[in-house]
Amino acid sequence: MRHCFWLFSILCWQSVHADEYASELDYYQQLPTVLSASRMSQPLSEAPNAMTVIDRQMIDASGFRNIADLFKLVPGMYVSYYKGSQPIVSYHGATDQYSRRMQVLIDGRSVYLPPMNTVDWADLPITIDDIERIEVIRGPAAASYGANSTQGVISIVTTDSMDGKSASFVHGNKGINDASIRFGSREKTYDYRMSIAYTADNGYDNLTANPNGITGPSLLNNSYDSNQARMMNYRGNYHPDGANSYDLQFGFNHDTQGVGFSDKNPAPYQPTSTNGDPIHNLISHSGFVQGGWRHLLDNGSELDLRYYHIQENQSEAFPVYLGGVFFPGPVFQALQTGRDQFEFQHILSFEANRLSYGGNIQRNEINGQSILPPLSLAYTPSFTTRDYQAYVEDEWRISQRLLLNAGGMYEKDRMGRKRLSPRVAFNYHVTPENTLRAGISVAYRTPSLVETNLPGVQPGAMFVPSAVPDTPGLMPEKMISREIGYIGQFVDWNSTLDLRLYSDSLGNGIFYDKPAAGMRNGFTADYRGIEAALKTRPTENIDLIANFSHMDARSNGPDLLAAGYGGFRAVYPPGFSGTNDILTASIPKNSASLLYSQRLAHMVSWSAAYYFQGSMQPFDRNYIDFQPTQHRIDLRIAKAYRFEGGTSGDIALIVQNLLQQDAYTEYIASNLFNRRMFVKATLNW
């Protein structure tokens, strides 16, 4: 046996020797830096915030094809749709349709854009398949993620490179047709990937009759909500040595989405009706270029420099109905939003401390155009805004068991206001497996340009800000968040349990003062709740993720309503949630998600997901849009193949909302989620 081994070794050695490869050089080869400080996220037990990580495996198992849907796997997150391609992703219940209290970053680049200060999910130049993982910080985190993280932060990390080629095709009902090609290469000092993709669907089915026998307000008929996006993105990395890494990314998305509604069109029963937003197309071109340099210094510290430019150009042209009269127009609106940001960060590790500090300078340029021939109105506002941020954060290991995270961000916002957002959190390892966390943090949200410059007439799907601010004195919203957390990491059971009790207070909340036709401060709200997240792998081939959230909220909405501020709606049914506070009613008291996935023999795998959302009254909607209790089950069955020569592939069948009898409605009641089925085929070579 021994001789056989030697003989074999000699044969192998000869073949090795034939290509003159020296195996001892394995020990001394140069390697690129992969896991750098800025690249990794802190372990749950040491992070200063509650955090949910959605990794590639979860993304695949979920079967989702929209990025926004992934956040259904985050405890306490409300995900719903205003239209087929206009999701609302909001922590702490429904907002109005422009959810704007969460910061969203893709590879560190903020896609939270003016003038609305919201995220256009349909315009992102990436698909769900480009994502490596998503970190969702539940709670404000300005000290580490920058401004505008009032409720939390979504940080999307894309795959940095791939070796080979891949093509995938998705086909299903409801007009679901996606196709993509991805390719890339990994060389000694350079690697890249590129994706070219097309996605299309026809959005939601329409509810044709009022739900639950409700009479009164009519349904918002927004059935024209198809979406087609064509996009490409590139990410390349050059790493000449272990100490330097240069990143270049760019991407582009051309999106056409159906917007507007038809229920306000003049009809025999409403002959003098006005509709300033009939169905039409909203065309978006968005793109970005981003460059970065990461340098590891001799003392083990890491320096990161990053620059990006992001651009989103949107336009729409449509006829309008005024008092029953049709104006072929068209009304034309356009918005060009561009941002340049330069950022640096330095991360230093010491014996007991890990210090990071940095800053950024940001310039936004917004150009709008709104031409309304029927009203002889036209304006072309133009804005350039600047803001600056500097931050410092220290993680101090006071003892083996006690960790202190303290930091803050100092900013000067676009309105020239200066302020500090601090955060302090203690993590105490009761045992290596059990950790307690207690923290308090403050974060602000700068009023959006549309909030200070609310246009007097608002036709179409876009808001073109008025050239002159009508509420220049609007103050930033302030969130104070206090929390106590527990993290159990049970290595023997392959399980992690994350519990969180929180109490968040929103001050200076901005709301729409209807009589004054402008935005104003004065909304205050308190959110209290408990969240639980369990991640477990009971056997090698089974993964289970379970999330639960119970939340309650109180606001001064009833007082504001009584004071005549029409921006607050009455609760329907009266007394729903035991209060006449629209905020309380707009929050699903309980919500939960469950994702089970199992890998079987013969490269077959399956997963099932269950999503539960308690009943609620969407914040800024009429009571016809009441969302009853929601149950949804998704199923995915997949089979992988491997062919000769390294080619592989897989085919998956995904059924969303398997139980048709539980067809549910979204933020807008006429967005009816009927069962969706699609097949996804992928070939890799």
Partner: protein
Amino acid sequence: MGKFLSFLFLCLLPSLCAAGKAHVLLVPSGDAEPYRLFSDAFRQSLPGDIQVDEIKLENFTGSEKADLVVTIGMRAASLAVKKASMPVIAAMLPSYEYAVLKAMRPAGLSGIFVDQPWARQVSFLRAAFPDRKLVGVLASPDTGPDIDKLRLQLREAGDSLISEAVPRGTLFEKLEKVLSRSQVLLAVPDIAIYNSNTIRDILLSSYRHRIPVVAFSQAFVNAGALCAIYSTPDQLAAQAGLMVNAYIRLKSLPEPEYPKLFKISVNHEVASMLGIAIRSDELLILKLEQGGPTR
């Protein structure tokens, strides 16, 4: 350790002087940086009365006039084994490659390996991760080091080996398999598995699984492995210097040796991100010296 070596030098010096001017031929496998570092350190490790001549691999005939040939790396070693008329010390090559050469030239050959003995690797794992008993290993089928010996060593220490042979094109599938079953991934040098093209996916996957990687070089630790145990070219050269001295004095070749000097590196950033409390580099060395194998 350094003091011990200097002491040995002092002891050997008189006998060297008595032996007269000895002549050593140094044959590197190429001009890669590790060979150059070895060469420089080797010259400095020898006393002045040992003359060292370096000769390029392509010029080496084997019939040069010298008391001893010291080769650096596998290519030079395999050439010297075939051609050299004088004794050969093959330095900086993997132990399993040395076994092949030894079969071809049973006499007049000794060596200094580049790899760490399994016993030391296992002690290192024990010292660094007392609670992680499931050790994953990836290896190309039928080549490279003897994984079965590692399995035995681990078993003696109360640990289990989870190994996967990795035929071409199956790396990531096997990696997932190993990562899902083990508590620590021990990287064993194999260019087919660990190279600059694959290192990203390996480290990112291990990070996703929250499995620390124990590596075999400083570069690997810089890249994102949690820790490594390895010997630098300087350290191997110092040991080769000692072996040459011993040969000149005793005129008989010592047995081949694993590295006597080694370094330990820990990436504290990665440790902190994985939530792993790991002893500092110095403490690990101390722990190895106390409870580890004889060095």
